[in-house]
């Protein structure tokens, strides 16, 4: 047994890290954040050169055919740099939907385009997790009616994967008749979510849809969100440590006060084991089907809590500065905040974990 990343995986992670360090510095994030409802095409093109959009897509369709663990460690870097990229829907959940439930024709039509980074794919699946404001989508005679909230990678999507109330998955084009779209503003300005309202919209069903396919999309999405939080949290910790080493009060750097040291050490102690959890949850998606769903719940709910703790604590270490727009620390704070919301908050996800094990009705 070897619980560690392979040499290739480390290289992959490093190359993504370097790419983002150079291409997604804070001032670029700031610019993108002023404009959430557009995809940052130049950054996406660069990511495509690294093969990021096609990571999970089989080589036959022009992708890299990598596994979820590879995707998770890449996503960790994306979170680390709060990169404004359409990652979750376009490179994880939508390809998964097509691979698990799509027809050959659908796969041939869309997967190569996703892999090439030519298109963005949104995912409307929130209502499979929890229903707000009577949202929900019904399929009747091949037409969709209803509403879906918090559609992932909503902006400029070339198609949407939509889950209906019976675990059916559908492919909907953005200009379909009867479809109206609204952007939703969240605290996180680095990713777009929106609302879709369907009024008898003609949709193309994915013929092999099943409850399992939907669940697997959610599991994978949750692990990726956990990885995103992990990376963002790690960066917040590093920023806090750096600040604690610079800022002076009472004639000493604040990092010399035990209270501040302990704040930093507690963050480190919370994050470090989380990394193993995320790795294992991602690995389970690839290799340990019996564990995958439960581990996805654990990873997501635990990272939600750790992420919030780290976000608050790192902000605390920065004193008044942490509260300013100027410092930009809040992009990480808010990123972690949205990660926590998407695909279910920790209480809900834990309830699911309890149900999976027969501990709750």
């Amino acid at each position: 047994m070897e619980f560690a990343l392979s040499e290739e995986q480390r290289l992959l992670q490093d190359s993504v890290r370097r790419f983002l360090e150079q291409n997604a510095p804070l001032d670029k994030v700031r610019l993108a954040a002023g404009n959430t409802h557009t995809v940052q095409r130049s950054l996406w093109a660069g990511a495509s050169e690294l093969g990021i959009p096609g990571m999970l897509i089989p080589e036959d369709f022009g992708g890299m055919g990598l596994g979820f663990l590879d995707a998770a460690i890449v996503y960790e870097m994306i979170g680390r740099h709060v990169a404004p990229l359409p990652f979750l829907g376009t490179t994880v959940m939508a390809p998964l939907a097509l691979m698990l439930a799509g027809s050959e024709a659908q796969q041939e039509k869309w997967l190569p385009k996703i892999a090439a980074g030519e298109i963005v794919a949104g995912v409307a699946i929130t209502e499979k997790i929890g229903i707000l404001e009577d949202a929900g989508v019904k399929a009747l005679n091949g037409k969709l009616t209803g509403k879906s909230l918090f559609v992932i990678d909503w902006a400029e999507a070339d198609f949407y994967i939509v889950a209906d109330s019976d675990h059916g998955l559908h492919l909907v084009l953005p200009d379909a008749k009867g479809l109206s779209r609204r952007a939703l503003n969240t605290i996180d300005k680095t990713r777009s979510v929106g609302e879709l309202v369907f009024d008898r919209v003609a949709a193309e069903p994915l013929p092999r849809s099943s409850a399992d396919a939907v669940a697997r999309m959610i599991d994978a999405g949750r692990v990726m969100l956990a990885a995103d939080t992990l990376g963002a949290g790690q960066m917040m910790l590093e920023k806090a440590v750096a600040y604690a080493g610079e800022r002076k009060q009472f004639g000493r750097v604040i990092g010399s006060f035990q209270a501040v040291k302990h704040l930093c050490a507690e963050m480190a102690a919370a994050l470090e084991p989380s990394r193993s959890l995320v790795w294992y949850a991602a690995h389970a998606l690839d290799e340990v089907p019996g564990d995958a769903r439960l581990m996805a719940c654990h990873a997501m709910s635990h990272l939600s809590e750790v992420g919030r703790f780290v976000a608050r604590t790192a902000t605390e270490v920065h004193g008044g500065m942490g509260f300013t727009d100027l410092l930009g620390l809040h992009y990480w704070f808010k990123r972690i905040g949205l990660d926590r919301q998407l695909l279910g908050g920790p209480e809900l996800v834990r309830l699911e974990a309890a149900r999976l094990q027969g501990w709750a009705a």
Binding site: T36, I131, A183, F250, I254, G319, K334
Partner: protein, 398 residues
């Protein structure tokens, strides 16, 4: 222990509730439902209403415009104010410089400033922190040099809440370089219109402007604006911090947030298997705990006033004791209640802020502003780490 309200208490509650119902304009009840101040005119208007009724500063000594209510009455009043979602009055005058002026100010300062604070016509801001002097407040460098009947002030303040809305600022300034840093500090009242003052905005993580930097360049301040004695400002500053820390715990907030949260769940029809109901309970417990704690402190404050027989502001609770209590009550309430609200909105909707494009549901208005502001609650008025230092030193004698 007797926690029943007497018929007189109940009658008092009816009176307060009736007054608020009849006089709180709907836009006041709506707009600042949460912590952060959104609109000066709304707060001013409500302040004026309470002032005209004689209720703007219940905790002040009666001689200066207080109500003379006992602890139970103040408790009832606070509860009713919170229940009605009435805006919070700005604390810089009422709970900060007002009590300092009552206690340490000259007769002339009292007659000049207290009235404006009470009526809400004059707005104050707090010039304590500097770029190099946050937690280490005593290292402040803004200098005031006496020249004839004026001080000339040079330096910079930072994090000055609402300086851009304020008419006056109370400032800690260095009047002497002494070996013990706390000893050369003085407490000055400065008119914001004085030439040489420049206010620059700091934008917060919530994208709002309530913080500022304030620069002083050769600002002439009449010596009459010195509170108490020169170089004794630290004493007054600490007295003020006790008032501040006692008041910013935000005890009524959990109840208010809980009500808002319940309303949202009803409206949004969240179907989440009772998960959120469960997660609300601990927050409810903490809210109740804080309220009980506050009642206990008010009660002991009252009995001391009667028993000690000294009367007046300072005798309410001896300064040292107040300082401890100020710290002990501080921090917990604020953090917990915001956590509660955050839980709700997490379940509810991340669509929190209006932008040029896109939308978020109307009833989520102000939520992120409030939550974002709440991130600073463990920092302003002295960080939690500093409060813990104070508790371990002053209460636990460590």
């Amino acid at each position: 222990m007797n926690i029943d309200f007497t018929p007189e208490d109940e009658a008092f509650r009816d009176e307060v509730r009736g007054f608020i119902a009849a006089n709180l304009p709907p836009e006041c009840a709506d707009s600042p439902a949460l912590g952060v101040m959104t609109d000066k005119s709304v707060v001013k208007r409500w302040h004026k209403t309470l002032y005209e009724k004689g209720w703007a500063a219940p905790a002040w000594p009666e001689a200066y415009g207080g109500t003379g209510w006992n602890a139970t009455q103040r408790f009832i009043f606070n509860e009713e104010i919170a229940r009605a979602n009435a805006p919070r009055l700005m604390p810089f005058g009422l709970t900060m410089v007002g009590p300092v002026t009552c206690t340490f100010g000259s007769a002339e300062q009292k007659s000049r400033h207290l009235q404006g604070i009470l009526s809400g016509d004059v707005w104050w801001c707090q010039g304590y922190s500097e770029p190099g002097a946050g937690s280490d407040l005593a290292s402040l460098k803004t200098r005031a040099v006496r020249q004839g009947d004026h001080y000339v002030v040079n330096g910079q303040k930072i994090w000055t809440s609402y300086a851009h809305e304020a008419d006056w600022i109370f400032c800690l300034v260095r009047t002497e370089q002494s070996a013990k840093r706390q000893e050369g500090i003085s407490f000055l009242l400065i008119d914001m219109r004085t030439p040489g003052i420049e206010v620059r905005p700091i934008i917060s993580i919530a994208g709002l402007h309530h913080l500022n930097e304030v620069f002083f360049t050769n600002v002439k301040v009449p010596v009459q604006n010195l509170i108490g004695e020169e170089n004794k400002g630290w004493t007054y500053a600490k007295y003020l911090l006790v008032q501040e820390r006692t008041s910013i715990g935000g005890v009524p907030s959990p109840g208010r947030r809980l009500r808002i949260s319940r309303r949202w769940h009803e409206r949004s029809g969240t179907r989440m298997g009772g998960v959120d109901g469960r997660s609300r309970v601990p927050a409810q417990t903490r809210g109740d705990r804080s309220q009980a704690h506050q009642s206990r402190i008010h009660e002991s404050a009252d009995s001391r006033r009667c028993g000690g027989g000294k009367g007046g502001w300072t005798a309410i609770v001896p300064a040292e004791d107040r300082r401890k209590r100020g710290s002990a009550g501080f921090g917990r309430t604020r953090r917990r209640s915001r956590r509660l609200l955050y839980r709700t909105i997490r379940a509810r909707s991340p669509a929190w802020r209006r932008q040029r494009t896109g939308y978020r549901p109307a009833h989520t208005r102000n939520v992120w502003a409030d939550y974002g502001y709440g991130r600073a609650a463990s920092i302003y008025g002295g960080s939690n780490e500093i409060q813990h230092d104070v508790i371990s030193k002053a209460i636990l004698n460590l």
